[in-house]
C-alpha cells in the first residue's frame, strides 16, 4: 500500500509538472497550415496584385473570394466594372433578379447598392495588395515595382471615374484614410504614371508565347494617361485634349497594333473576343490583357461572364462553353448604332454582320424583339454574340466550361478613338484628316464604309460601335454630356421608364458605400445621395 502511494504521488506530480511547463509555450503558435506562410517570394505577391483584377480570390473560380459581402462569382473586377459601366447606359440591360441589377438598369443606384459596394471594395483590396508589395518588396525589381504602381494607379483611376472623391491610402496602417477630391486623385494617378513610365518595360506587343504577356509595359501607362487626359475635363474641370492626343499617338506608333486580318471564317474584329485571342495576332492589339485559362485561371466574373451572361441556350453553339445564363443583352439604342432604321434582319450573327455592313454588329436576333419590352425576359432585346470560346484553328479549348479567352482590358483601338476625339475637340468639334484616318482605320478593319469627316456625335457613336459591351460606355456618355442631367439623349428604360427619362446629374458619380462612410468618419458622401 505505502509503496503504491509513494509511486502514485510522484507520478502525478510529474505529470502535472510536465503539463504546467509545456503549457505557456504551447500557446505561442506559428501556422502548421501549408497554405499559410509568414514569408513568401515577391513574385507570389506580385502575381496576386495582377490576379485581383482577373479572378475572384485565392481559390480559382470556386472559393476564397477576396471581397466579402458579395457573391464570390459576382465579385470579379471585370464583371463589376462591366455592370457599372454598361447596365447604366444605352448599351445593355439585364433581367436577372440579383440584388442591384435593376437599380443599375434604371439608374436608381444609391449608397447601399450591393454591387457598387463590391466593386468599390474590389478596387481597394487591390490597392492594399499593391501597397503591401510596395512596402515589402519595392527594392526587389524596378520594373515589377513600376507595374504594381501601375495597377494601383489603375484601381485609383476606376475609383476616380466612378466615385470621384474617395479615401486615399498608399500604405497599410490602422490610420483611417483621408478623402481625396477627384482632382487630387487625378493628380496622383497622373504623377504615378509619369513617374513609373521610365521603369516600365519597353512597349512591345506580345502573344501568350512571348515572355511578359499579361504584364503591362510603357504602352499601358501611355494609354491610361491618354484616357485620364481625355476625361480630364470631367475629372478636374480642365480639358487636356492635346495631352490625350499625344499619349494616344505614342500607343499608335508603338509595336502594338490593330489586328487587321481575319483567319478563316473569323473576322479580325471577332478574333479579339475568342478563346485563342492570346495566341493569334489579335494579341498584338492587347495593351493590357487580363489572362484567363480554362484550367489554370478560372473565374465566373471575367471572360466567362462576358460570354455566358450574353448567351442563352438557343445560342449555345455560339459561345463554345456549356455556360449560357441569358442575362445581358442589347438595348435598342445599341442596335440603332448599326441599324438606324430598325431594319436588322431576324438572323444569326453572321448574317446580321453582313446586313449591317460592319463586322462589329455581332448580334443574334432570331426569336427576339428589338425592344426591351419585358426587361426580365432575355428574348426581349437582341442578343450580343461578340464573345465566344472558339479557336480560329478549330482546335478545342482546355475546358468546356471555363474559357481560355483573355479579356482585353486595354486595347490599341482605344488609342485611335482617343486620338480622333481629342483632335476633333481641339479642332472645334470636327475631325481633321489625321483624326478621320484614325477612325477609318477602325472602320476599315471592321469592313465598314469610311468617311472623310466625323462630328463629335458620330465619334460618340463610334465609341459605342467599337467598344460596346467592353465596360466603358458610362465614362464616354458622361464625357459627351449624354448621361445623367441631360435630356438630349434618352434610351429605353433610362431612369426607369420604357421610353426613357432624364435622371439627375448627381448620378454621374456613384455614392460612397454606406459601409465605408460608417467605418471611416473622414469621409463625406457625394452630393445628391
Amino acid at each position: 500500500m505505502k509503496t503504491y502511494i509513494k509511486n502514485i504521488i510522484p507520478a502525478a506530480a510529474l505529470l502535472v509538472a510536465v503539463g504546467f511547463s509545456s503549457c505557456t509555450k504551447d500557446l505561442d503558435v506559428t501556422p502548421i497550415d501549408p497554405n499559410l506562410n509568414t514569408e513568401i517570394q515577391p513574385e507570389q505577391l506580385f502575381n496576386k496584385c495582377y490576379a485581383n483584377i482577373a479572378v475572384a480570390g485565392n481559390g480559382g473560380a470556386n472559393g476564397d473570394c477576396d471581397v466579402d459581402g458579395i457573391d464570390g462569382g459576382t465579385s470579379g473586377y471585370v464583371r463589376q466594372m462591366w455592370n457599372a459601366q454598361e447596365l447604366t447606359t444605352d448599351e445593355a440591360i439585364c433581367g436577372w433578379g440579383d440584388e442591384g441589377i435593376a437599380n443599375f438598369c434604371y439608374n436608381t443606384y444609391d449608397a447601399s447598392h450591393p454591387m457598387l459596394r463590391g466593386y468599390y471594395y474590389r478596387l481597394y483590396t487591390g490597392i492594399s495588395f499593391c501597397n503591401q508589395y510596395l512596402q515589402e518588396f519595392s527594392d526587389y525589381n524596378a520594373a515589377m515595382t513600376a507595374e504594381v504602381r501601375f495597377i494601383r494607379a489603375l484601381n485609383y483611376f476606376n475609383l476616380m471615374d466612378g466615385w470621384g472623391n474617395v479615401p486615399f491610402a498608399t500604405s497599410i496602417t490602422s490610420e483611417k484614410p483621408v478623402q481625396y477630391s477627384r482632382q487630387e486623385i487625378f493628380n496622383f494617378v497622373e504623377s504615378e504614371l509619369l513617374e513609373i513610365e521610365p521603369n516600365l518595360n519597353a512597349a512591345t506587343a506580345k502573344k501568350s508565347s512571348d515572355s511578359g504577356y499579361g504584364r503591362v509595359d510603357k504602352a499601358a501607362a501611355w494609354l491610361l494617361l491618354a484616357r485620364i487626359y481625355l476625361n480630364a475635363e470631367v475629372y478636374t474641370g480642365t480639358a487636356q485634349w492635346a495631352k490625350a492626343a499625344e499619349y494616344a499617338k505614342k500607343v499608335m506608333d508603338s509595336s502594338y497594333k490593330l489586328n487587321t486580318n481575319g483567319v478563316g471564317e473569323w473576322s479580325a474584329y471577332q478574333m479579339l473576343f475568342m478563346g485563342d485571342n492570346g495566341e493569334t495576332n489579335a494579341a498584338y492589339e492587347a495593351v493590357f490583357p487580363i489572362l484567363q485559362d480554362g484550367v489554370r485561371t478560372t473565374s465566373w466574373g471575367t471572360t466567362l461572364f462576358m460570354l455566358a451572361s450574353t448567351h442563352d441556350a438557343d445560342m449555345a453553339d455560339y459561345n463554345g462553353t456549356t455556360e449560357a445564363w441569358g442575362g445581358n443583352r442589347a438595348r435598342p439604342q445599341l442596335i440603332e448604332k448599326f441599324f438606324p432604321n430598325h431594319d436588322a434582319p431576324e438572323a444569326e450573327p453572321a448574317d446580321v454582320v453582313v446586313a449591317a455592313g460592319d463586322d462589329r454588329a455581332i448580334f443574334d436576333t432570331r426569336g427576339r424583339e428589338l425592344d426591351n419590352t419585358d426587361p426580365s425576359t432575355f428574348k426581349s432585346g437582341y442578343a450580343v454574340a461578340k464573345y465566344n470560346n472558339y479557336t480560329t484553328t478549330g482546335a478545342s479549348t482546355s475546358s468546356a466550361q471555363f474559357p481560355d479567352g483573355d479579356f482585353f482590358l486595354m486595347r490599341v483601338a482605344e488609342a485611335y478613338l482617343t486620338y480622333a476625339e481629342a483632335q476633333a475637340r481641339l479642332n472645334g468639334g470636327a475631325t481633321n484628316t489625321e483624326a478621320a484616318n484614325a477612325i477609318n482605320a477602325l472602320r476599315t478593319r471592321a469592313n465598314a464604309d469610311t468617311k472623310a469627316n466625323y462630328s463629335l456625335d458620330e465619334i460618340c457613336d463610334e465609341w459605342c460601335r467599337e467598344f460596346y459591351f467592353e465596360g466603358r460606355r458610362r465614362m464616354d456618355l458622361v464625357r459627351f454630356g449624354k448621361f445623367g442631367g441631360s435630356n438630349d439623349y434618352l434610351w429605353q428604360w433610362k431612369g426607369g421608364t420604357f421610353n426613357g427619362r432624364n435622371f439627375d446629374a448627381s448620378k454621374n458619380l456613384f455614392a460612397i458605400p454606406t459601409t465605408d462612410l460608417t467605418a471611416n468618419p473622414n469621409l463625406t458622401q457625394n452630393p445628391g445621395y
Binding site: 502514485i8 502525478a12 505529470l15 504546467f20 503549457c23 504551447d26 500557446l27 503558435v29 501556422p31 502548421i32 497550415d33 501549408p34 497554405n35 499559410l36 506562410n37 517570394q41 513574385e43 507570389q44 505577391l45 506580385f46 502575381n47 496576386k48 480570390g57 485565392n58 481559390g59 476564397d64 466579402d68 436577372w96 433578379g97 440579383d98 440584388e99 437599380n103 436608381t108 447601399s112 468599390y120 481597394y124 483590396t125 495588395f129 515589377m144 496602417t173 483611417k176 499579361g214 504584364r215 489572362l291 485559362d293 484550367v295 485561371t297 442563352d312 441556350a313 462553353t321 456549356t322 449560357a324 441569358g326 419585358d374 426580365s376 425576359t377 432575355f378 468546356a400 471555363f402 465605408d516
Partner: protein, 1009 residues
C-alpha cells in the same frame, strides 16, 4: 454523509451508503426480497430499511436482500435516482423501483466534479434519456429535443444519420459559434465533426448514454471559462456495476419511415393545359409547345420511398472479481426516404471502473469506437422533383449519353466530341432520378474517444482527493464522390475524388479537491485544477474529372484535377478553481474562477469568474412545518464566460494565404502561385458573456410536484463580427473583430408532476416552457440604426439576401420589402411600400420584419403506466418563429417568359398554389416581399409509444428467465401549423427544399437475459 463523494459512479454510491448502516436482528420473520427497476433489471445496492427501526440492509448483486422484520411492518427501499418504494413485510416480496429524475438526492455531474442536486446553486438540468419513449433516435441530440427548458434542438431534416443544431438560451454569438460545449465523460470536445459525423455528439451511440447534464447559467458554465458562453452539455456514459454477475441484454428495433407530405404541384395533364393556355398566340407558340411531353410523371413519387431501418444493441455488464465492466456493441442501419441515402453504423464501448485500496483509488476507463458509413443522396433531387416538367418521362431510350434518362438538352458543340452531339442544358432542371442514381457519394467515418479518470483519496487524509483525466479523441472521415459522366450534375467529365478530414485532440486535466465540515453547520469544499488541451485537425482532398473514351484529344485522361491539403491546431491551457460553502444546510455559496490561455489570441490569458448564492428556504422552520412542501430554494448567480469556437486559429497575426485549387494560378511571373496577405485584427479576443440568473425551485408532496423557474439576462460583449473596415486600411473589406454586443433575456419554466403513483398506476407529466428574446445592441462599436449585415441568401438570383443583423433587432431578422395588398387581401405583384417616401424603391425601403427564431418554445411529455403496460408521448411547440417560404417565392412566376424559361429552353413545373398568384415578373421586390415571411408556429408530436414489460419469460429451473419490454412507437406523428410549406421547422428560417422529415413507425424489444 453530507459530503458526497463526487467521483463515485452513481450506483456505487448507494452500495457504500448502505455499508455504513448498521444491521441488527430481532426475533422476527425473515423477509426475502428482490428489487428491480421497471425494465426488470435487478437493482444492486439499494437500501432496504424497516420503518421505525434500525434494521436495514442493502441488496446484493442480484438485487436480492434478506432481513428480519415484524410481519406486516413497513419496509422502505431507497436507491439514488429512483423513487422510494414501500412494501409490507412478508416472507417473499418483490419491489419495483420507479426511476425518478427529479429526486433531490440525485448526483448531478457538473464541470470537474459532481454535486447533489439539492446542493446546486446554478441552473443545471439533468436529463436521463427516456428509455421508454425515445422514438427514432440515431443521434444523441435528438434525445434532448423538447425535453429541457432553454434548450432548442432542430434537426437538419430527415437525412439518415444527419445531425441537429442545438441552442442553449439563444446562443451568445453572431458569426462565430453558437453551439454548446460538449463534454463526454469528463473530456471537453472540440466543436467540429469530420466527414460523415457532423459534431462530437454524433460520435456516441445514444444507447450508451446514461445522462445528459445541461449547464445553463454562468455559475455552472464559468468553470469552462472561454468555452462556456453557449452552455455546456455533459454526457456521462453507462458503466458496469461492482459485484454484479454478468448481465446480458439486448435492445433492438425495426423502423418503417415514409414521407409525410410533398409539394402539391401540377400533374402532366394540368401542366399541358396550362402551357397551351399561356402560349396561345405567342410568337414561338408552335416551337415551345412542341417541347411538351406526353407523360404524367409524379417526380416526387419517383424520388421517395418507404424506408426501413433497424437497430441492434447488445450489452454485457457485470464485474470480473473487483473489476466492474460494461461492454456494448451497437449496429444501426438506417435507410433514408430519399432514394439512395442511407446510414450504417457500428459502435463498441467498453467501460472499466475498478476501485482499489478500500475505494481510495478509483479508476474509470472508457473506450468508445465507432465506424459509420453514410451514403449521401444528391439532395438537389428534392428541388428538382418539384420543378421538373411533369409531362416528361423518367427514361429516354434514345439518350445514350445520359444514362438512359430523359434530360433537357442543348447542342454539344463546346465538347468537341462527335459522339456527344448534345449535352444537358445546364440552366434547366436536371432529371431528379438521374441525379440520384448516377451519383455515388459516401463517407466512411471512424472515431475513437478514450479517457481515463483516476481519482485518489489520500490515505490518512481522506478529505483531500486528487483527480486526473487523460482523454483522446481521434476521428477520421473520408468522403468519396463518384458522379457519373452521364449525370446532369457533372455531365461529360463526371466528378470523382475524395475528401478526408482527420482530427486528433488530446486532453490532460487534473485537480485536487478538499472538503471539510466544521461544527456541524459549516460545510466547506475547495477544488483547484489545471487543464491542457491540444486540438489538431487536417484535411486533404483530391478531385478530378475524366475525359470520356470518345474524346478525340485526351481519351480517358484526367480533366481539371485538384488537390488541397490543410492542417491546423490550437492549444488551450487553463487553471481553474471552485469553492463551495454551505451554512446550516440552508445557505449555499459557490464561487468559481478560471484562467484560460488560448493560442487563438495574442493576449492569451483571460479570467472568468462566477459567484452564486442559494437559499434553501424549505429548511427554515416556518416552511419545515408545512408538510406538503418538500423543497423551496432560491438561486442567484452571476458569471462571466467566453466563446472562442468558430474563430480561426491564426487570425491575430499577419500571414499570407497561398492560392488553392485548380484554376487559381495567375501566370505573369514565377510559377504563377499567388500569395495574399490576409486581413487580421491583432487585438482579436474572446467573445464575453455576462450572465445574471435568478431561479426558484419548488417541490411539493415529496417531490411529486416540482416546479422550477429561472429568469436570466445575458449580455455578450466583444461580439466577434466580420466588420467593415475603412477601405484601404486592411487586406479585405471586412475583418473579424470584437465590436458587437448582444442581449438574450429569457424565462425558463419546468413543471414535473406525478399525479398518480399507485401499485398498478403510474403517471408522470413533464412540461417545459422557454421564452427568449434576442437583440443585437451594437454592431460597429456603436448603435447606428441604419447599419446592417446582410445574411440569409435565398434561391432565385445571385447574392439575394432575405435576412440581416442590425441593432435593435434579433439576429437573423428578415429584412424585406413591405407588400401591398389589394382589397381582397391578395398581394399585388411587385408593389411594395416606398417606406422612405423618396419616390423610388431601393434597398433603403426594406424593413425588419420578424425573425426565424421562436421566442416561445414548449415541450410536454407524459407517461402513463398500468401494470405492465406503458403509454407515453412527447409534444413540442414553437410559437412565433417565422419562415421565409423560398419554395413559393421562387415559383409564382407564371409568365410566358418564365414557364418555358427565359431563353433557357426548358419547362419548369409550378406548385398548384402558384396558379392563384399568377405573377408575371421576377422583380426583386416581389422576391423579397414580406409576403413570403410566414408564420411558422407549430405544435408537433414527436413520439407516441405503447409498451409492455414482462418478466421471467422462458423461466426454467434455476434460470430466472428473460425479462424485458416490447413497444411500438410512432415518431414525428403530426404537426399542427398554419404554415403552407412542407415543414415549418427550418433552422435558419429559409425554407428551400429541406430533406423532409419522415413519419416513422418503430417496433422494438428490450431483453435482459
Amino acid at each position: 454523509m453530507k459530503q458526497v463523494n463526487i467521483q463515485f459512479p452513481l450506483r456505487m454510491l448507494g452500495l457504500i451508503l448502505g455499508l455504513f448502516l448498521s444491521v441488527s436482528a430481532f426475533a422476527q420473520i425473515d423477509v426475502k426480497g428482490h428489487v428491480k427497476d421497471a425494465t426488470g433489471e435487478p437493482i444492486i445496492g439499494a437500501t432496504v430499511r424497516v420503518d421505525g427501526t434500525q434494521t436495514a440492509t442493502v441488496t446484493d448483486f442480484d438485487g436480492n436482500f434478506v432481513l428480519k422484520a415484524k410481519q406486516g411492518a413497513d419496509i422502505t427501499v431507497t436507491y439514488v435516482g429512483y423513487q422510494d418504494a414501500k412494501v409490507k413485510a412478508a416472507p417473499n416480496v418483490v419491489v419495483i423501483l420507479r426511476e425518478d429524475a427529479a429526486v433531490l438526492n440525485e448526483v448531478v455531474v457538473i464541470g470537474y466534479g459532481a454535486v447533489k442536486k439539492s446542493d446546486l446553486t446554478g441552473s443545471v438540468t439533468a436529463l436521463k434519456p427516456d428509455s421508454k419513449n425515445k422514438g427514432l433516435v440515431v443521434n444523441a441530440q435528438e434525445m434532448m429535443q423538447g425535453k429541457i427548458a432553454g434548450v432548442n434542438v432542430t434537426s437538419d431534416g430527415g437525412t439518415p444519420g444527419g445531425s441537429s443544431t442545438i441552442r442553449i438560451r439563444g446562443g451568445s454569438s453572431l458569426n462565430a459559434s453558437n453551439s454548446p460545449l460538449v463534454v463526454i465523460d469528463g473530456v471537453p470536445m472540440d466543436g467540429n465533426g469530420v466527414k460523415g459525423l457532423a459534431n462530437p455528439l454524433s460520435m456516441v451511440n445514444p444507447q450508451d448514454i446514461e445522462s445528459f447534464n445541461v449547464l445553463k447559467d454562468a455559475s455552472a458554465t464559468a468553470i469552462y471559462g472561454s468555452r462556456g458562453s453557449n452552455g455546456v452539455i455533459i454526457i456521462t456514459t453507462k458503466k458496469g456495476r461492482k459485484g454484479s454477475t454478468p448481465q446480458v441484454s439486448y435492445a433492438g428495433s425495426v423502423t418503417m419511415s415514409m414521407k409525410k407530405k410533398t409539394v402539391d404541384v401540377l400533374d402532366g395533364d394540368q401542366y399541358r393545359t396550362l402551357a397551351k393556355q399561356i402560349y396561345a398566340g405567342h410568337m414561338s407558340e408552335e416551337s415551345i409547345l412542341s417541347q411538351l411531353g406526353s407523360a404524367n410523371t409524379d417526380w416526387q413519387k419517383e424520388i421517395y420511398r418507404t424506408a426501413w431501418s433497424h437497430d441492434h444493441n447488445v450489452t454485457v455488464a457485470g464485474a470480473f472479481k473487483n473489476l466492474p465492466y460494461r461492454l456494448s456493441l451497437g449496429y444501426t442501419n438506417q435507410q433514408g426516404i430519399l432514394k439512395t441515402s442511407d446510414f450504417k453504423r457500428y459502435t463498441a464501448a467498453l467501460n472499466l471502473n475498478p476501485s482499489l485500496f478500500e475505494d481510495h483509488l478509483t479508476l474509470n476507463l472508457n473506450a468508445k469506437g465507432m465506424w459509420a458509413r453514410s451514403q449521401y443522396a444528391n439532395t438537389g433531387a428534392i428541388g428538382a422533383a418539384v420543378a421538373f416538367d411533369p409531362t416528361q418521362p423518367v427514361y429516354d431510350s434514345t439518350a445514350k449519353n445520359f444514362g438512359g434518362y430523359w434530360e433537357w438538352q442543348i447542342p454539344g458543340g463546346s465538347l468537341n466530341d462527335p459522339s456527344w452531339p448534345t449535352t444537358t442544358n445546364r440552366n434547366a432542371t436536371s432529371n431528379p432520378v438521374a441525379l440520384l442514381n448516377l451519383n455515388d457519394d459516401h463517407a466512411i467515418s471512424r472515431s475513437f474517444i478514450g479517457n481515463a479518470d483516476i481519482d485518489y483519496k489520500i490515505h490518512g487524509f481522506e478529505d483531500l482527493r486528487l483527480h486526473l483525466t487523460l482523454g483522446a479523441d481521434v476521428s477520421e472521415g473520408k468522403q468519396w464522390t463518384d458522379v457519373d459522366a452521364a449525370s446532369p450534375a457533372a455531365i461529360y467529365y463526371g466528378n470523382h475524388g475524395w475528401d478526408k478530414i482527420t482530427k486528433r485532440n488530446l486532453t490532460l486535466s487534473t485537480y485536487a479537491q478538499y472538503y471539510k465540515d466544521f461544527a456541524k453547520i459549516h460545510h466547506f469544499d475547495i477544488m483547484g485544477g489545471y487543464e491542457w488541451q491540444h486540438f489538431w485537425r487536417s484535411q486533404h482532398n483530391n478531385y478530378w474529372g475524366l475525359y470520356p473514351s470518345t474524346n478525340s484529344e485526351h481519351p480517358g485522361e484526367k480533366h481539371d484535377e485538384s488537390t488541397y491539403s490543410y492542417k491546423t491546431e490550437n492549444y488551450l491551457v487553463s487553471f481553474f478553481g471552485r469553492m463551495n460553502y454551505i451554512l446550516m444546510d440552508r445557505y449555499y455559496i459557490t464561487a468559481t474562477l478560471r484562467n484560460d490561455g488560448s493560442s487563438r489570441f495574442k493576449d492569451h490569458w483571460k479570467l472568468y469568474p462566477s459567484a452564486a448564492f442559494a437559499y434553501k428556504m424549505s429548511e427554515e422552520k416556518i416552511f419545515k412545518n408545512i408538510d406538503w412542501l418538500s423543497d423551496l430554494k432560491l438561486r442567484l448567480s452571476y458569471g462571466k464566460t467566453g466563446q472562442q469556437e468558430g474563430i480561426g486559429d491564426y487570425n491575430y497575426f499577419a500571414v499570407y494565404a497561398m492560392n488553392t485549387g485548380v484554376g487559381s494560378y495567375y501566370d505573369v511571373s514565377g510559377d504563377g502561385t499567388l500569395a495574399r496577405p490576409d486581413a487580421y485584427d491583432p487585438n482579436l479576443k474572446w467573445e464575453t458573456t455576462d450572465t445574471y440568473n435568478i431561479g426558484l425551485d419548488f417541490g411539493a408532496f415529496n417531490q411529486r410536484l416540482t416546479f422550477s423557474i429561472d429568469a436570466y439576462y445575458r449580455k455578450t460583449t466583444d461580439l466577434i463580427n466580420k466588420a467593415d473596415v475603412a477601405a484601404g486600411t486592411n487586406f479585405k473589406n471586412t475583418v473579424w473583430t470584437n465590436i458587437g454586443k448582444m442581449e438574450n433575456k429569457g424565462i425558463e419554466l419546468t413543471i414535473g408532476a406525478k399525479p398518480i403513483q399507485t401499485k398498478d398506476w403510474f403517471w408522470t407529466i413533464d412540461y417545459n416552457l422557454t421564452y427568449n428574446h434576442n437583440e443585437i445592441t451594437a454592431l460597429i462599436g456603436g448603435d447606428d440604426p441604419n447599419y446592417f449585415v446582410p445574411t440569409g441568401g435565398i434561391g432565385g438570383g445571385t447574392g439575394v439576401n432575405a435576412q440581416a443583423h442590425a441593432v435593435g433587432h434579433p439576429a437573423y431578422s428578415y429584412y424585406v420589402y413591405q407588400q401591398v395588398y389589394d382589397k381582397e387581401g391578395k398581394p399585388i405583384e411587385g408593389l411594395v411600400v416606398d417606406r422612405n417616401g423618396d419616390g423610388v424603391i431601393t434597398e433603403a425601403d426594406k424593413y425588419f420584419y420578424k425573425s426565424p427564431t421562436a421566442p416561445v418554445t414548449m415541450g410536454l411529455s407524459s407517461r402513463l403506466e398500468y401494470k405492465n403496460f406503458d403509454f407515453g408521448f412527447t409534444l413540442r411547440a414553437s410559437i412565433g418563429n417565422y419562415v421565409f417560404n423560398n419554395l413559393m417565392s421562387g415559383n409564382v412566376n407564371m409568365s410566358a417568359g418564365e414557364l418555358y424559361s427565359n431563353g433557357n429552353n426548358y419547362f419548369g413545373n409550378r406548385p398548384v398554389a402558384a396558379l392563384d398568384y399568377n405573377w408575371q415578373t421576377y422583380d426583386l421586390e416581389a422576391k423579397l416581399s414580406d409576403h413570403w415571411v410566414q408564420n411558422g408556429s407549430f405544435l408537433k408530436c414527436d413520439n407516441i409509444t405503447l409498451g409492455y414489460s414482462f418478466d421471467n419469460l422462458l423461466k426454467m429451473g434455476s434460470y430466472k428467465g428473460v425479462s424485458g419490454r416490447v413497444y411500438a412507437t410512432a415518431s414525428n406523428v403530426f404537426c399542427i401549423t398554419k404554415y403552407k410549406g412542407i415543414d415549418p421547422e427550418v433552422f435558419g428560417g429559409i425554407d428551400n427544399n429541406l430533406y423532409p422529415r419522415p413519419i416513422s413507425f418503430i417496433l422494438g424489444v428490450n431483453l435482459n437475459f
